[in-house]
């Protein structure tokens, strides 16, 4: 039996809009083996991002359990969850979500400010991460001075700089042109293949899903 990096068991999640309860996920079970590159696909409103948020520990399920990197995320308090995310999860967002007043270097350094690394060690980590994404020559550039593809690569460098156990990516190519999207997908594929990073990616894009080893479909809150 393979070692699972993510184990989702009987998870349900609903939101309240005024007095109306809107079910988003129902009795979801999902296991992601370590080192896997999983793509979650499905139409808008199917619950893909909600499931990703639950796995990443930025939201809590109504029922069920989620175990990631041998930690039962659902049992952690808010502050424990914050520490856990910093240690285990690397995030890549559709709209990059870089801090506009910080340079590429400073954006990538952000997660390391929460660690006990020295300034020199942080510097080494940041330069290595930016080197992996091919942006060593753009360290001092601000986000607005970079193209969309370059900004997403900075976001990927930020996601991997603390050497997380799991990378979660929410529509990482959703805001990019075809060429940039291909670059990003190639980079994610490389992170999975060369650096053995486990990746869970939400996407609409079939080309993106084709890069993954495993594709699961969500529809109306259920895995199909």
């Amino acid at each position: 039996m393979p070692n699972h990096i993510v184990a989702v068991n009987e998870v349900s999640k609903s939101y309240r809009r005024d007095s109306i309860k809107i079910p988003v996920l129902e009795n979801i079970n999902l296991a992601v083996p370590e080192g896997e590159f999983l793509a979650l696909m499905g139409p808008s409103g199917s619950g893909k991002t909600t499931l990703l948020n639950l796995i990443a520990g930025i939201d809590r399920p109504d029922t069920g359990t989620i175990v990631v990197a041998n930690d039962e995320v659902t049992k952690l308090s808010e502050s424990q969850m914050a520490d856990w995310r910093a240690r285990h999860i690397g995030f890549i967002f559709q709209f990059y979500n870089l801090i506009p007043v910080l340079t590429a270097y400073e954006n990538v350094e952000l997660p390391l400010l929460l660690t006990k690394l020295s300034k020199k060690e942080r510097d080494e980590h940041v330069k290595t991460a930016l080197g992996v994404v091919g942006l060593s020559d753009r360290m001092k550039h601000y986000p607005k001075q970079l193209s969309g593809g370059q900004q997403q690569r900075v976001a990927i460098a930020r996601a991997i700089v603390a050497d997380p156990t799991l990378i979660v990516a929410d529509e990482p190519t959703g805001d990019l042109d075809k060429v940039s999207a291909t670059e990003i997908l190639t980079l994610l594929e490389r992170l999975n293949r060369e650096f053995k990073k486990s990746i869970v990616m939400v996407t609409h894009d079939q080309r993106a899903a084709d890069k993954a080893h495993l594709v699961r479909h969500l529809d109306k809150g259920e895995l199909v």
């Binding site: 909600t50 948020n53 990443a56 930025i58 939201d59 502050s79 914050a82 520490d83 995310r85 910093a86 240690r87 995030f91 967002f93 559709q94 709209f95 979500n97 801090i99 506009p100 007043v101 910080l102 270097y105 400073e106 350094e109 952000l110 997660p111 400010l113 929460l114 930020r158």
Partner: protein
């Protein structure tokens, strides 16, 4: 890269908004400090009151004088060391708008006010000349008067033209000492009154007494007032502090209004900064969500938002305070002139600086409370959703 650097960079993210808010706080700091200083100036007479000086005045009103014969009787009372005579002269120089305090006083009165520091040779020259006067440094600067200058005042109580020669210019021994007074010989008006209006002669406005340190002022006051009970001019004896406070009470409503204005001014800028911080935080909710996602804790967000708010508030405070120092150092004479001598003492006190700083600090902290609360309570998923 540290959190402080992020705070600093965030502050400069919308330069125009930050500069306008910053200037607003600087102006309010200036206004608040100015108003508080004006209030302090008004109370300066009370602060400068001596513990061992008392004032004996007509029990009916300060408007009514006392017989000069009381002076010797008061001087006989055990515990009284000295009795000085004074009159409010109420004259003006050239234009009635050129108001300043002018008093006719005798030498004993002058000797009691050691905080009016006059060079000995000037004091000696003053004593030798009947129409000589001693003026405060600020008054001299205000009108450009120098030693030896002839000054003519127009009387409003003691009518007519009154000629004086400036023989002394005094400096205040303390920051709270009034340097705008005009003092001259009581005998000068008394002699002229004997000729022109005998009914006004030998009637000083009040007496100032100096008492021994070990004497109870209340007891002395009771003895003095008891001596003149049932006489045509009963007396009211009080400490100099109480006497000065009774003057201030006359303008109590104005002072209260000024205090209220100073508080309102601070509340207005609090709302302005709170609005700025609320806008700022609303625009950055997605960034706060990202920071939380990366593992930053609520305390980090508190530091980021309140740090920015405090940076703007305290930065504005420093600029406003600098402007206050500059204005008071270089334009205090102008202020005294513009206020027609109403504010003779215009010093930025430590208390005013501390109060202004505390106000800026309070504004910085309170303005950050609501946006910080929102950012801390925000669900990460909701914050990230704002981007899309």
């Amino acid at each position: 890269m540290k959190i402080l650097k992020l705070i600093f960079k965030n502050t400069l993210r919308h330069p125009l908004r930050t500069i306008l808010t910053f200037l607003g706080i600087a102006i309010v700091t200036f206004a608040f400090g100015f108003i508080r200083t004006a209030i302090s100036a008004w109370y300066a007479g009370v602060e400068a009151s001596a513990q061992n000086r008392m004032v004996v005045l007509n029990a009916t009103s300060l408007m009514f004088p006392l017989p000069l014969s009381y002076r010797d009787k008061i001087a006989q009372i055990p515990g009284v060391q000295s009795v000085g005579t004074a009159n409010w002269f109420g004259a003006y120089y050239k234009d009635p708008k050129d108001f300043f305090a002018n008093f006719a006083v005798d030498d004993k009165y002058l000797a009691m006010y050691s905080e009016f520091v006059t060079p000995p040779e000037q004091l000696a020259a003053y004593k030798q000349e009947r129409n000589a006067c001693i003026i405060g440094r600020k008054l001299a600067n205000r009108f450009g008067w120098k030693l030896g200058d002839a000054v003519q005042l127009t009387g409003t109580i003691f009518y007519g033209q009154w000629d004086f020669v400036v023989r002394g210019i005094y400096d205040g021994a303390h920051a709270t000492t009034d340097e705008t007074a005009f003092l001259f010989h009581w005998d000068y008006i008394n002699e002229r009154m004997k000729q022109e209006s005998p009914e006004l002669a030998d009637y000083p406005g009040w007496f100032v007494i100096q008492i021994a340190d070990d004497v109870n002022p209340v007891a002395i006051g009771e003895i003095i007032d008891g001596n003149f009970k049932n006489s045509p001019a009963e007396t009211k004896t009080e400490t100099e502090r109480a006497f000065n406070l009774s003057f201030i009470a006359m303008a109590g409503t104005i002072m209260t209004a000024m205090e209220v204005i100073s508080i309102v001014v601070v509340l207005i800028i609090l709302l302005v900064l709170a609005n700025t911080m609320a806008m700022t935080a609303r625009e950055r909710m997605s960034e706060y969500a990202v920071l939380k996602t990366l593992g930053f804790r609520p305390l980090h967000l508190v530091g980021l938002i309140s740090g920015e708010s405090l940076l703007i508030a305290l930065g504005g405070f420093v600029v406003g305070l600098g402007a206050l120092f500059f204005i008071f150092k270089n334009f205090s004479v102008v202020i005294t002139k513009l206020s027609n001598g109403f504010f003779g003492i215009f010093n930025l006190t430590d208390n005013t600086i501390a109060l202004t700083f505390a106000s800026a600090l309070m504004v910085g902290i309170v303005a950050a409370i609501f946006p910080t609360w929102r950012a801390v309570r925000m669900r990460i998923a909701d914050g990230l959703h704002r981007v899309a």
